[in-house]
């Protein structure tokens, strides 16, 4: 399980218990319950409209849930106004106050807490140093780059040692290289100060890179919560399998029943019968979706494969080569060859055989 590297005595856990939030006829959050451990970095991941931001806003206190409760450090804060929750938040757009200097921005939460001027300035300077921006205190936010502004926003959110740090897609406004750099930096900082973080993102790579655990949401429902490894290797639903990483899907029908976790025979639309691992218990003739990752397919001679397909296109990306394949029935598939094995890459139009291990093909019920 997750062991946060360094839990500060101040960081606390968060409990979300059965919260429901409706906007008119739309249910934005539908009975979501989850627990965040003290010092844990949790990512809320989902497409737009999945309810991830609404959950964050309910934790922050800008939305009040219609049902359920929110606990911070065991204390019920469901109806507490935001300014009494003592949480930190970093927004998507940096939201530094443009009429204040960088230092005044960072000192603002201390000023609101009645901290004296001298102490305020000292602590603000320390926080500025923590995000490696010493000497920038007298500038106005507009004179900083996007990455620097976001670091100031983080300094401002941690200077008063909040119990929890909420982050609402804080890196999405940055360009790719800077974003990757900031992902590592933010994660490092979180380990150093040991604060509990809830991080909203729609970028699965970002969630997998940064988070101790990831909560995947869709249509206001919690689909799965687990470590990045669990989500990628053992997705519990076809949605999670498709949303985290790349996946090939086949439609098929169960030939025989199987308990959850056991091997089941599936007849594909191709007419071929293959073996897959049943994620949930499967009944005879149930409609199934079989998911398999592109890198778990391997190439063989056409007659030796479990399935044969024709190479449609080859996409070379340096560290790997992706083959776009098409089976006899027109189903398209992706297959990934890591760099180094690329010498065996077949030519376009070649007929190839495909093999995989039964535990890598995951069969989901309720074909949709």
């Amino acid at each position: 399980m997750v062991q946060p590297v360094e839990v500060s005595s101040r960081s606390v856990g968060i409990g979300i218990r059965g919260i429901v939030k409706r906007f008119g006829a739309v249910t934005a959050v539908d009975e979501v319950s989850l627990a965040v451990e003290p010092g844990e970095f949790l990512a809320l991941l989902g497409p737009s409209g999945s309810g991830k931001t609404t959950i964050l806003m309910a934790i922050a206190g800008f939305e009040y849930p219609d049902e359920g409760e929110i606990l911070v450090g065991g204390e019920d804060v469901t109806w507490t106004p935001p300014y009494h929750r003592n949480l930190g938040m970093v927004f998507q757009k940096y939201t530094l106050f443009p009429h204040m200097s960088v230092l005044e921005n960072i000192a603002f939460p201390l000023k609101m807490r009645g901290v004296g001027r001298a102490e305020r300035e000292e602590r603000a300077r320390t926080a500025l140093a923590t995000v490696r921006l010493d000497g920038f205190g007298e500038r106005k936010p507009a004179q900083l780059s996007g990455g620097q502004q976001q670091r100031v926003a983080i300094a401002r959110a941690i200077v008063y040692k909040p119990r929890v740090l909420l982050m609402d897609e804080p890196l999405s406004a940055l360009d790719k290289n800077l974003r990757e750099e900031m992902q590592i930096e933010t994660k490092q900082l979180q380990r150093e100060i040991g604060v509990t973080v809830v991080f909203v993102t729609h970028d699965q790579t970002e969630a997998l890179t940064m988070a101790d655990r990831v909560a995947v949401l869709d249509h206001g429902r919690l689909q799965q919560i687990g470590t990045p490894h669990e989500l990628y290797e053992a997705p519990k639903s076809a949605f999670v399998a498709g949303f985290i990483g790349e996946t090939n899907f086949w439609q098929g029908e169960a030939r025989g029943a199987a308990a959850a976790g056991r091997v089941v025979s599936v007849e594909l639309a191709e007419g071929v019968t293959i073996e897959a691992t049943a994620v949930d218990a499967v009944t005879e003739r149930a409609k199934l979706r079989v998911a398999i990752r592109p890198e778990r397919l391997s190439l063989t001679a056409p007659e030796q494969g479990l399935l044969s397909a024709r190479v449609e296109q080859e996409i070379y990306a340096g560290n790997a080569t992706t083959l776009l394949l098409s089976t006899a029935s027109g189903q398209s598939l992706k297959l990934r060859l890591p760099a180094g094995s690329a010498m065996q890459a077949p030519a376009m139009g070649d007929l190839v055989g495909l093999r995989w291990a039964a535990q890598d093909a995951r069969a989901f019920g309720g074909a949709a």
Binding site: A60, F62, Y83, N86, H99, F108, R113
Partner: protein, 289 residues
């Protein structure tokens, strides 16, 4: 030889100086003919007619009767500005927080008066304030007063009517400044521990200041030169500078003295502009920062 791409009008963000001049020329010519030329000739009149003299200026700043008019003008303009600010700020905030039909109704109620003639609005105030006007009739009928109050031809009446007429010039720049403040700023402030009052005091109000200063400047300057409303609502007892100037020109035919009055007010406004030069940037006249 590779020719530098010719960029006259639409090529880039910056026009050549020739293009700038050409685009601004119609206005500059108009401003010269209808503003600078008459103003220059009036000031010339005040200094050189009949002979080079400062006598007209001396009369304007020493005679108590004229001094009183000028002070009253400044006082009324200042009170009107303060009153308009007090009324406009909350209204602008409500407008900035509104959308759809609510916003449309609010904008219309601010703009529609601006589209009706000042004269019409001033007469409306006369109907309300006169001795047998709507307000006095209501006060009498309710038994609050026994005889009609003197409402018209008072400084208060002038302030109220001018405040009403000039209100849009205060509302619009403040609205525009408030509209430009993203919601996230107040969210961020509250997240950082600021109560709603502290959010207003520390973030929202300071960020609205560009709109406030441009609104105050516009209302104050318009109020200084206001003619119709003070003349009709204030009457001769509450004369303001514009009425005085008009009187000098039309009744006394004393162009030189009228020019001196204009010169004194102009000098005063320029002085104000210099004082506020640091605080107020001219580009803020057009609204948000």
């Amino acid at each position: 030889m590779s020719a530098r791409p010719h960029r006259w009008l639409l090529g880039g963000r910056h026009y050549s100086s020739a293009a700038s001049l050409a685009l601004a020329a119609p206005f500059l010519i108009l401003a010269f003919v209808t503003f600078l030329l008459p103003l220059g000739s009036l000031l010339h009149e005040s200094l050189f007619v009949p002979a080079p003299t400062l006598a007209h200026y001396e009369r304007a700043v020493t005679a108590p009767v004229y001094l009183r008019v000028m002070l009253r003008t400044l006082r009324i303009a200042a009170i009107v500005t303060a009153l308009a600010l007090l009324l406009a700020w909350p209204l602008a905030l409500v407008m900035a927080r509104s959308t759809g039909l609510k916003l449309a109704i609010l904008v219309a109620s601010v703009l529609l008066p601006l589209w009706t003639s000042v004269l019409v609005r001033t007469y409306a105030w006369m109907v309300l304030l006169q001795k047998n006007g709507v307000i006095n009739q209501m006060l009498m009928a309710s038994g609050l007063v026994d005889e009609p109050l003197k409402l018209l031809y008072t400084e208060t009446a002038v302030v109220i009517a001018m405040g009403h007429v000039l209100l849009p010039f205060m509302v619009l720049p403040i609205y525009s400044a408030l509209r430009g403040i993203p919601d996230d700023y107040s969210r961020a402030a509250q997240m950082l521990g600021a109560s709603e009052w502290a959010t207003f005091r520390e973030v929202i109000f300071p960020l609205s200041l560009p709109g406030v200063t441009s609104g105050c400047l516009m209302v104050f300057l318009l109020a200084l030169g206001f003619f119709v409303t003070p003349a009709l609502i204030g009457g001769p007892q509450q004369m303001m500078i514009a009425t005085l100037v008009s009187q000098q020109v039309r009744e006394m035919l004393d162009w030189s003295f009228a020019g001196a009055l204009v010169g004194v007010m102009l000098a005063f406004v320029l002085l104000l502009a210099l004082i506020f030069k640091r605080a107020v940037r001219l580009d803020r006249f057009v609204g948000s920062a």
